[in-house]
Symmetry: C2
Subunit: 111 residues, 2 copies
């Protein structure tokens, strides 16, 4: 496991919300919620490696995802168990809100 994952009880709400307060990172979390563990390169197309690396780091450091090396890639997964334990019900409500956000706002859906 790559360093700098906070322990469960070190996951802070403000860091999680700040990490999710970005359309790309919300999209990444939705993909991981639907599909389980994924390789870094298989989640979003058309973004530079440095941009993606930045977003993985924000999500990892805030405690939203696990990131672990596997060969030449990193595998990413949602820390659902930790987030559900720390803030019960929040992840599901936020995933539902993200789905509504898309429906209500065509410019997001078209990105």
């Amino acid at each position: 496991m790559i360093a700098q994952h906070p322990e469960r009880d070190q996951i802070l709400l403000e860091n999680v919300l700040s990490a999710l307060g970005n359309p790309l990172r919300l999209q990444i979390v939705r993909v991981l919620a639907e599909s389980g563990e994924r390789s870094c390169g298989s989640i979003l197309d058309g973004l530079s490696k440095s941009t993606l690396t930045h977003h993985w780091r924000v999500l990892r450091d805030s405690g939203v995802i696990w990131q672990r090396p596997a060969g030449r890639e990193n595998l990413l997964s949602l820390r659902r168990e930790d987030l559900d334990a720390r803030f019960p019900g929040m992840l599901d409500v936020l995933l539902a809100a993200a789905a509504r956000n898309d429906q209500g706002d065509s410019h997001i859906a078209a990105r």
Copy 2:
């Protein structure tokens, strides 16, 4: 009402989460949730006017609060009805998460 409040259907999840991804702004929202409309100056002590003005603007522009002038002050209130309509259940879950966040992390509670 001061300009730059988004309409209900223009409230975007990423903006709301980004606005709430800050300990001071989370605290402001908790105070407004408990006490209803409050004057700007009555919510947090010990912060400069420019710091507070910045936080009011972030909360207002994201659609989290109403801000309206009243005499020499502004009055603030939570846009609970709009947030509940746009993202059902989210505000209550986030307020509960904020309460847990405080309990689980003494350095936040001591701020």
